[in-house]
């Protein structure tokens, strides 16, 4: 019913191409997040699905129907905007019922559907209020309510949580997720916050400079990033990168440090490679290599250490409580089975 298929879609503004042909298939009921740095084209893509931007070339279909030339209202979608875009001169009730009013749905039916959505979102006490009298979280719920009331095939979210404070964001994150589990409506959600993406999505589409870098489940992206961009974009604190080359089963960093990985690089033997190590994959080891400590940041559950290691500045996150002071040295090694290797020139992951 609500499957969305995006097929080789391009977008030009004048002579400038901002989307270079992207393809994604989103299954009915799936929660897909488009994530990437600002300017990567994720919002443009979402707005093309909504019908707010023209599709330069390619095809978008919703529920098996090509929607390229359909007006937004005929696409069976609803959208939640970053600023919520609540109509300031209408009450919560009128805001939520506006689309039904335009469709000439009867008053009783509208009231019923608004009450139903308000019930789901806990908005019953606020129906008669105006948006300016609501808190940020409540406004966010009204924006979702306005979408739910329409019972569309697809929900579109454009950075809906970025105007909320940190605590509320975490709470709304789980509310949106719970609503999705209950309504099972296909959802396309845009954010620049990779934590949001990781915690909410069934699948994540990582975009960068108008192309799709990788599509996969959150853990696939974390465990097997397809390239250097995804590797550094997903995960916080982000992955450490060491430049060097492979000699047999050893990685030789540019400063000459030799790290044994217990695996080869296949065809990339001798070529420049980049080794990626997530902070939590460094371990203290008396047989490891010296790391000169720059700062130590205990967070309680773990200790984050910034150190100079193999000619680069790296961050390690250790379960142990480290008492060493800046300037002192500790010996650490990367968990060899969990390091990632990338071709430095192309940025592509080197398969084992």
């Amino acid at each position: 019913m609500g499957a969305v298929s995006i097929n080789n879609v391009k977008k030009n503004y004048g002579n400038m191409e901002v989307l270079h042909g992207v393809s994604v298939d989103i299954a009915d009921g799936e929660f897909v997040i488009l994530v990437g740095p600002s300017g990567c084209g994720k919002s443009t893509l979402l707005r093309m699905i909504a019908g707010l931007e023209e599709i330069t070339s390619g095809e978008i279909s919703i529920g098996g129907r090509v929607v390229n030339t359909l007006a937004p209202k005929d696409r069976d979608i609803a959208m939640v905007f970053q600023s919520y875009a609540l109509y300031p001169h209408m009450t919560v009730e009128q805001n939520m019922g506006f689309s039904l009013k335009l469709q000439r749905v009867s008053k009783e039916e509208t009231a019923k559907r608004v009450a139903n959505a308000a019930g789901i979102l806990g908005l019953e006490p606020y129906l008669k209020r105006y948006p300016r009298h609501l808190s940020g979280g409540q406004r966010q719920r009204v924006a979702m309510g306005r979408a739910i009331v329409r019972n569309p095939a697809v929900f579109l979210f454009d950075e809906p949580l970025s105007n909320l404070d940190a605590k509320l964001r975490v709470q709304m994150r789980s509310e949106i997720k719970q609503n999705h589990m209950r309504l099972k409506t296909t959802t396309v959600y845009v954010t620049h916050d990779q934590i949001e993406a990781m915690t909410m999505a069934d699948r994540i589409v990582v975009m960068h400079d108008g192309i799709i870098e990788q599509i996969g489940t959150p853990l696939e992206l974390y465990d097997r990033p397809a390239n250097l961009f995804v590797a550094t974009f997903i995960g916080s604190p982000s992955m450490n990168l060491l430049k060097g080359k492979m000699e047999g089963q050893d990685f030789i960093a540019n400063d000459g440090t030799r790290l044994s990985l217990g695996r080869g690089a296949g065809a990339s033997e001798g070529r420049p490679v980049t080794m990626g190590v997530r902070p939590e994959h460094f371990h203290l080891d008396p047989n490891g290599v010296d790391a000169e400590i720059l700062t130590v940041e205990p967070t309680g559950s773990e200790t984050q250490v910034v150190a100079r290691y193999a000619g680069a500045e790296i961050m390690g996150a250790f379960r142990e409580r480290i008492t060493a002071k800046p300037g002192e040295k500790i010996k650490i090694r990367p968990e060899s089975g969990l390091v990632h290797l990338f071709d430095t020139e192309s940025g592509k992951r080197i398969a084992v």
Binding site: G51, P72, A78, M79, F81, A85, Y87, P88, F98, S99
Partner: protein, 280 residues
């Protein structure tokens, strides 16, 4: 709400003196107009002049209201001001919406064109306008002045409304489009209700400007069936061999509606007028 402990600024007495002077300068002529309008002829022409009328009289007003053409001109002014204000508003709403929300070829040129309308020396186009109106048979008609007043009201109306429309978040309109609104539906259900202060500011501005306009009226309305109040007032002096009591009474009749309109809406009006100035 930040009030610093040390109050800098002008000393209190200086502020007081300054404000009193400014108010005197601005308001004294009105006071004198009002006082003169209720004096009898003999009292107007005494040396030295009397400050307060010894025998206040409504006779000047009676003369203006019952023995002159002023009531007729008042009605003409109302028709022409309401007509041109309404027409300008309708045209400006659509034009401003087009400028604020769409990109089209030549938009900067057309916006500059509208702006130049505001800067045009009126004296330079009176002659051809007169000839054009004469050809169209619009000299000495309501429609002639209503149309010509578009020159005065339309450019600023378009400018003010464009900045009001631009200030309304685009997302609101996009939300309405997704909710199923048509373009015109968006304009009438979302944009206009949210621009109400701007609309009022534009209305008041247009009305005041057309109500006060003198030169076009002088050239294009020479028949007493369409003459407006300003023309009536300028004639009044000769008509009664400069009966200053009558002139002042007529001035009051002309000023009071406009002053009331302004004072009622002044907050919106000043806000609308200055919005563009402070944003730039």
């Amino acid at each position: 709400m930040s009030h610093s402990l040390v109050r800098t600024g002008l000393p209190r007495p200086l502020i007081l003196i300054g404000v009193v002077i400014v108010l005197l300068v601005c308001l004294f002529p009105f006071a004198w107009m009002a006082l003169s309008s209720i004096k009898v002829l003999g009292e107007l022409y005494t040396i030295p002049p009397h400050w307060w009328p010894d025998a206040p009289t409504w006779s000047n007003y009676a003369k203006v209201l019952f023995e002159s053409n002023i009531p007729r001109y008042f009605w003409n002014s109302v028709v022409i001001s309401v007509g041109s204000t309404g027409l300008a508003l309708v045209l400006a709403i659509f034009a401003s919406y087009g400028f604020a929300r769409f990109n089209f070829r030549g938009k900067p040129f057309w916006q500059a064109f509208v702006l130049i309308g505001q800067l045009l020396p009126t004296a330079a186009i009176i002659v051809p306008l007169f000839i054009t109106l004469r050809v169209l048979g619009l000299v000495n008609t309501y429609w002639g002045l209503i149309l010509v007043y578009m020159i005065v009201t339309l450019p600023l109306s378009v400018w003010m409304l464009t900045s009001y429309f631009k200030a309304i978040p685009v997302e609101l309109e996009e939300a309405a489009i997704i909710d199923g609104s048509s373009r015109l539906g968006v304009l009438f259900r979302i944009t206009l209700p949210l621009s109400l202060p701007g609309l009022i500011a534009v209305l008041v501005y247009s009305f005041v400007t057309t109500w006060n306009e003198f030169i076009f009226a002088l050239c294009f309305a020479t028949d007493s069936s369409v003459k407006t109040l300003p023309i009536g007032l300028s004639e009044f002096s000769t008509e009664f061999n400069t009966d200053w009591g009558g002139v002042m009474a007529a001035s009051m009749v002309m000023t009071i509606p406009i002053a009331l309109l302004f004072l009622v809406f002044q907050r919106l009006f000043v806000g609308g007028l200055t919005a563009g100035a402070t944003k730039g």
